[in-house]
């Protein structure tokens, strides 16, 4: 019996408003005078893909054989303007995570794993490392407000460029990398003094609105001779309007990152209280694309809390062309692994709870710049683990698609889904299970 259960049995009652976590946060704030900074993504419970179910085929739909009939997973991104769109074998990509936030071994492992299954990785705040370019057959180069390490040579080496306007964990906020992770190499790449708390800008330095962004995108296309796709990444907030403006600005691909998306470091109040759930953002994005006649012409990548093949399939059924994973990829590499529990506890955490990525003490050797800790992650073995995980995600999504009678993951559609709760029905814009009712859209 848990301590909590014992307390309840003893007649004690926890306040719903001032619950134990809230009380602890008040005490922590009173002790330190500083807001809490942490990594990971939102930990609060929000409506998510678990609240959706697939309607498998039966009499009225015709399923495909599970292991015999093909179900396409390939997707081409950037078909609108780029001379060389990116072709992915699976619709699961690796989201932007910086060298600096992650160790060089972790970045290499991500590249190895993604390349093994024919998908892309993404750089992050801090530029492109040779290890990453070397191991990632398909690499998306992020163009961030900080422009750390940004240079035209790397820009031209990229297979795509992702203009980052925001991130699901902190829409409206900039990156953060605290001094303990600013090693000599990280400092050199970012042109910063060693050991400073690096707080990236939240706005781009040379454009201020969507009209300017259109010209900026043209500049990036001119510099790269219109070869590679240009993505625009937004944190999920006013997604309908953001997507419309991004399309108008000339994006080839739009990346929408929901509030469950992870971060290396930001204020907890930001992570938990800004943005909307991934599931709520997808229908907004798809509506915007459809109204502009650009759905499937401008591809949509969705990220934020993707854990399994069901999540992948549900995103695609709602209209995404692909998904991106960050936190899940790190867990596949070994982040928060129980084998390090004793060491997690020495630094005041526990396996499964660790989120102090900004402190650079990750026992798993992933979110650290400590050379000794970094050695704990074998990039070859880690890459293989990631590849295994990506294969499972894909096979699970295929299983569900075949059960719905679809020979291509992108043929999944909202009609294949129902919702378990009124909230999820309203957000995902699919009927409440057993009814024809989509809240907000009449009966």
């Amino acid at each position: 019996m848990s301590e909590k259960d014992l307390n309840v049995n003893a007649g004690l009652r926890e306040s719903s408003t001032f619950d134990l976590h809230s009380m602890q946060e008040i005490r922590r704030a009173a002790d330190t005078g500083i807001y809490d900074i942490r990594g990971f993504g939102a930990k609060r419970k929000v409506p998510h893909f678990d609240d959706l179910l697939f309607l498998g085929a039966s009499m009225s739909r015709y399923p495909l054989e599970g292991y015999r009939e093909a179900c396409n997973t390939k997707v081409t991104l950037g078909t609108r303007f780029a001379k060389k769109p990116i072709e992915l074998d699976i619709p699961v990509t690796i989201a932007g995570m910086s060298f600096g936030a992650l160790s060089a071994n972790a970045k290499e492992a991500l590249g190895r794993g993604a390349s093994e299954v024919g998908t892309s990785t993404t750089t992050g705040d801090g530029g492109m490392t040779p290890e990453e370019r070397g191991q990632s057959k398909k690499l998306v180069y992020q163009y961030l407000p900080s422009r750390y390490g940004m240079n035209p040579d790397d820009l031209r080496k990229a297979d795509a460029i992702e203009v980052v306007l925001g991130q699901g964990a902190k829409p409206g906020g900039g990156g953060m990398l605290l001094g303990q992770k600013i090693t000599d190499r990280v400092a050199q790449m970012r042109t910063l003094p060693k050991g400073v708390d690096q707080r990236s800008a939240c706005r781009h330095p040379d454009w201020t609105g969507p009209d300017d962004l259109a010209i900026k995108i043209q500049e990036l296309r001119e510099i790269t001779d219109w070869q590679v796709p240009i993505y625009i990444k937004v944190g999920a907030t006013r997604t309908y309007y953001d997507v419309k403006l991004a399309v108008k600005a000339g994006a080839d691909v739009i990346v929408v990152d929901g509030m469950q998306g992870g971060t290396a470091a930001t204020q907890e109040v930001f992570i938990e209280h800004v943005g909307i759930p991934t599931m709520a953002a997808i229908p907004q994005a798809v509506q915007a694309l459809q109204e502009m006649g650009m759905h499937r012409k401008v591809q949509l990548i969705v990220s934020g809390g993707i854990r399994n093949g069901a999540d992948v399939a549900k995103c695609m059924a709602l209209g995404a062309d692909a998904v991106a994973i960050g936190t899940a990829a790190l867990i596949a590499l070994g982040c928060n692994h129980p084998k390090w529990d004793e060491e997690f506890r020495k630094i005041g955490s526990a396996a499964g709870y660790y989120d102090d990525y900004h402190e650079g003490k990750d026992p798993a050797g992933i979110s650290t710049q400590d050379p000794e800790l970094s050695k704990r992650l074998d990039p070859v073995a880690g890459g293989h683990r990631l590849a295994n995980y990506l294969r499972v995600l894909t096979m699970e999504a295929q299983t569900l698609a075949r059960a719905c009678g679809k020979n291509d993951l992108r043929n999944l559609e909202p009609e294949d889904l129902v919702a378990l709760t009124v909230e999820s029905a309203a957000m995902a814009r699919v009927p409440l299970a057993g009814t024809a009712w989509i809240p907000g859209q009449g009966y």
Binding site: I34, N151, P152, T191, V196, P205, D206, E219, E222, D225
Partner: protein, 227 residues
């Protein structure tokens, strides 16, 4: 000299022709005519060529320049020489906001005035402005040098890292963590060299130096009111 009339050729054709010089340099001197505020002129160059832009340039002229020497014979729009790596850019007229933003290297000379956020997030380039600069210039600037021969607007050097700032005229206000610093001999020498490289005839002794107090480099709760 190769002349491209932008009224007849597109910006794409111009940039492609200039990029091709990196593969095989067939012409070192280029002139662009018929310019009427076109955006993205001469961006992403990667060869030691000279480009004279005859007219007012739009946004991001000479963006991400490497090695090339580019002269705008007119005014330049937003983000001129943004993220320049090397080479030089000279604007004979005025420059709009975010001139030299995030530039890592090279020399940007603005013979007129520069708008807001000149040298924002500067990462190593040198900027010399013969006139005034607008507000928030050198915001979060990390390395390199900004020389202002006229006046500077509000919040100069806000959240500055290691960029050196020299201003001859008045400074309306300094941004967070930016302070006036002693002008030692090495700074006079640095400024003298830079003025000479820019071809600007000013007395280095007339300038004041500004830099980071480095109080905000690491978060301290006592500094919360500075943000």
């Amino acid at each position: 000299m190769k002349v491209i009339d932008i009224e007849k050729a597109s910006v794409r054709e111009l940039n492609q022709a200039l990029h091709d010089q990196h593969v095989e340099c067939t012409e070192r001197e280029w002139e662009v005519t018929g310019v009427k505020g076109d955006h993205n002129l001469a961006v992403g160059l990667d060869e030691a060529i000279s480009v004279h832009i005859k007219g007012h340039a739009g946004y991001y002229c000479a963006g991400m320049n490497k090695k090339a020497n580019i002269v705008v014979h007119g005014n330049a729009g937003q983000g001129v020489a943004e993220n320049m790596m090397s080479g030089s850019v000279r604007v004979v007229g005025d420059a709009s906001q975010s001139a030299g933003a995030t530039a890592h290297g090279g020399l940007l000379v603005i013979e007129g005035n520069a708008g807001a956020r000149c040298g924002i997030s500067l990462k190593g380039a040198d900027i010399v402005v013969k006139g005034n600069v607008g507000h928030m210039s050198c915001f979060m600037a990390q390395a390199g040098t900004l020389v202002v021969c006229g006046d500077a607007g509000d919040a100069l050097g806000d959240s500055l890292y290691e960029t050196h700032i020299y201003v001859k005229g008045s400074v309306k206000s300094l941004g967070a963590d930016c302070v006036e610093k002693e002008m030692r001999a090495e700074h006079v020498q640095e400024l003298t060299d830079l003025l000479n490289r820019a071809g600007v005839d000013e007395d280095p002794a007339a300038f004041k130096r500004y830099g980071s107090a480095r109080n905000l480099y690491n978060f301290k709760v006592d500094n919360a009111s500075a943000y």
